[in-house]
Symmetry: C2
Subunit: 212 residues, 2 copies
């Protein structure tokens, strides 16, 4: 059965992105040191062979359990949902062949025709809310899973809808000292999860929670 | 050499205590559901034999690696430092034989004579700041370690002083939806830690970070 899942990197102080990491500072990673902080969060992923291949970052890279984990995350995904800000940052960062290879539903007020990329990714711009995006993703995903890709806002809204089945968090040992927190604006009662699996590595602790 | 360490329970959304958990609601754990949330955070610890014995909660309890971990935390501690609010909550909650059995330095503006409890705990009320409390704790601790016991404010201030050598966090799979966040008000550049050890249990993920 299709699972709705989140798979993200998180700083030890609970942020998905450091302060200063925004479109207007994209070319100045020294601004509030956002580039170095982002690197500390994502360093392990940037070194994996599958990630490098998928993002066209060049040959080589580590193979092993973390690489398998990344591949599995992409392969299980039949559709993704993301917020507008994440899309806008990706639009200027992803290679032409965007790294999804499936439909991606973008939550936005902007009206825009579907944007078809080489390699199987099509971005659909959804103007009529969370449930609609989820329903469309469900239609596309078939027997595969739906990833709520981010950012924090989008994940919070789907947590509040109570539809997240699995939370996969790569907790990196870096303190951002501020930024976009993952867990905020949660409605009461908050959704309940239990620990499913923990995979320990020197660069991040991979925590997997499933709905209880 | 004496290490300065933190050992706390943390909710998945990064809180040490849920909203509503305050002295004025101590007798009404139903207030904002703080009692149930606190229970979800601390359930595993309340079931351990050593904790039960130390807090005079009655006989029995689990023995095993978590119990050993708790005993080790108490036995390695030569002195503790805590904030005023934590002390005030403890003052009405701890048994007469307070569970520290060492000097405890309380950061406060209140002037008060040392409070000697049976069983070896003496509370000293420190009015002249963080460094002074740390220096006094160092004198008392001898070759043992110094625990910054909490709450969140006190830990944040010592993180900002750059003196925390080890961060031990029992990350419980509960979302508080609000409360006292551990990681807030951090100064730039934030202190750097690396992952030292992860101990995985069904009820909490025990993360140990050491200063990098």
């Amino acid at each position: 059965m299709t699972q709705v899942f989140v798979n993200i990197g998180l700083s030890l102080d609970g942020c998905m992105a450091p302060e200063g990491m925004a479109l207007e500072h994209w070319q100045t990673p020294g601004y509030r040191n956002w580039g170095a902080k982002w690197g500390a969060l994502m360093g392990w992923i940037l070194r994996q062979q599958y990630f490098r291949e998928n993002l066209k970052l060049g040959p080589g890279g580590e193979t092993g359990p973390l690489n398998d984990m990344l591949r599995n995350t992409v392969e299980r995904t039949g559709a993704s949902i993301m917020g507008k800000r994440m899309f806008e940052q990706g639009e200027i960062s992803w290679p032409e062949e965007a790294p999804f290879h499936t439909p991606v539903y973008v939550l936005t007020h902007q009206k825009r025709e579907p944007w078809v990329r080489p390699g199987g990714t099509t971005f659909y711009f959804v103007n009529d809310g969370l449930e609609s995006a989820l329903e469309q993703a469900r239609q596309s995903a078939g027997s595969r899973d739906i990833r709520i890709a981010g950012g924090a806002d989008a994940i919070q809204q789907y947590l509040n809808l109570g539809v997240i089945d699995e939370l996969e968090i790569a907790l990196a040992p870096v303190l951002f000292g501020g930024g976009r927190r993952l867990f905020e604006n949660l409605r009461e009662p908050a959704p309940k999860f239990r620990i499913d699996k923990v995979f320990d590595s020197p660069t991040a602790t991979h925590l997997r929670y499933v709905r209880d």
